[in-house]
């Protein structure tokens, strides 16, 4: 069974139809890269997947269970789906370590001493163990994003969503964040990533998905997407971002 199955997903903001009819299957361990022009609904789609946005129609099945059902436990579901944001959104009043530990300890009720070890392991993994006791505002954007990844991983999610995790970063800081994400992909994490980093897509994506006007226009493996796109719109878009 697919980890996530999305059927006929719709999202309107008032009269604005942002997602028209999105169908997609995400298998366990798959890495999806979502691309598309600004305003095509990539963020909205990602946010629907962990219900930060309430879809207007359609179905999202998580391991076969409809997450849009009335009695579905959203908060419990979010324990399984981590998210990283473009602007990191670390909690500025907590140290880096507490950012990573807070939800596991206070929401999942993990033991604090065990969680501290786990958090330190995660911070080492993203290369920031030495920053455990500083506040996020003292870190560079790239460092903050890596903390945000560690924070999401501390919840032990089954899937991770990334909404343009590197587009707020100075170019020289992008690589470190992408490396952490590549490691994660190689460890078998299921990931849906909105990004313009085509190198990343080529290297680790199982599928690249081109969205336009609230629908999935193309969905195929990276080699095919980059060498042989089916639609003119896809070709134009790829030409534009590959030339940048």
């Amino acid at each position: 069974m697919a980890l996530l199955e999305i059927k006929g997903l719709k999202k309107n903001f008032g009269d604005l139809k942002v997602l028209q009819n999105v169908n997609m299957t995400i298998e366990e361990g798959e890495v999806l890269v979502l691309i598309g022009p600004s305003g095509s609904g990539k963020s909205t789609f990602l946010r629907c997947l962990n219900l930060l946005e309430q879809p207007s129609g359609g179905e999202i099945l998580f391991k076969g269970e409809n997450i849009l059902a009335d009695k579905f436990n959203v908060i419990n579901y979010r324990k399984h789906v981590g998210m990283c944001f473009q602007r990191f959104n670390l909690f500025p009043f907590m140290t880096v370590l507490n950012n990573v530990m807070y939800s596991p300890v206070h929401i999942l009720k993990r033991k604090e001493s065990e969680m501290k070890d786990k958090a330190m392991t995660l911070l080492s993994k993203v290369g920031l163990a030495d920053k455990a006791n500083v506040y996020p505002d003292t870190l560079s954007g790239g460092q903050q994003q890596r903390v945000a990844i560690a924070r999401a991983l501390a919840m032990e999610p089954e899937m991770m969503l990334f909404d343009e995790p590197t587009s707020a970063l100075d170019p020289e800081l992008v690589g470190d964040v992408l490396n952490v994400m590549k490691d994660l992909a190689h460890e078998g994490m299921t990931m849906a990533v909105v990004t313009h980093e085509m190198g990343f897509a080529r290297e680790v994506a199982d599928r690249v998905i081109f969205m336009e006007g609230g629908i999935v226009l193309e969905d195929k493996p990276p080699e095919e997407m980059f060498t042989n796109p089916e639609h003119d719109r896809t070709r134009e878009f790829l030409k534009r971002i590959l030339n940048n």
């Binding site: 908060i75 998210m83 909690f91 009043f93 929401i107 506040y135 505002d137 003292t138 924070r151």
Partner: protein, 238 residues
Amino acid sequence: MRVLQNLNFGKAVTELIPKLFEQAIGIVVLTTVVGFILAIVIGFLLALGRLSKHGWLRNIIIVFQEIIRGTPLLVQLVYIYYVVPLLIEVLAYLIGIDNYKCNMPAVTAGIIGIGINYGTYISEVIRSAILAIDSGQTEAALALAMSPRQALFRIVVPQAFRNSIPVFGNYLVMLVKDTSLMAYITAPELLLVTKAYTSQTFLTIESYTILAVVYLIICIPLSWLVKLLEKKFNKKYR
């Protein structure tokens, strides 16, 4: 001039200052501390009520805030001291308790009035501080499996509160000075004690000058302290 020849600061200083310290300072400190804590609690509750999803609650609070902001603090104090006890007696009568006498000490009335008045202004400070916190903070909290309530109280409110502290400080200095309004409802604070002393001694110039200086001695260091707090809390978290 006669007035100048009769000036007697020595007498006024030695007699009035001990009086102020014995009788009045305690009340000013009590009203300031308790009134200010009350104001922050009320401000916080009103702010949360204004952010509630229940329209009726928001509307009640808006009307309440308009009433408080549309009337002078002095009138509110008079109302709480003279009118509210009568209303309570009427209410007691209506629910069948005869001859209930409601005694409201002047200082209590002062603390309640100041707490409500400042709480109303402080609620707007807290409310806008909550609204000013980036929505990404709430989203991150939700994505980490917090409930909307947990996201508000554990992530947004602590930051909003910290950002409000410098503004709270300015209100604190104003509040200290406004305790003088309690003289009108017979609370023996600095102004009333001074007034009583002048009517016995006719040392008008001396007494009120001393009173003004005492307020300055309280308020100037307090505003320095507030400036320090401002410096500390306007910085980023380090």
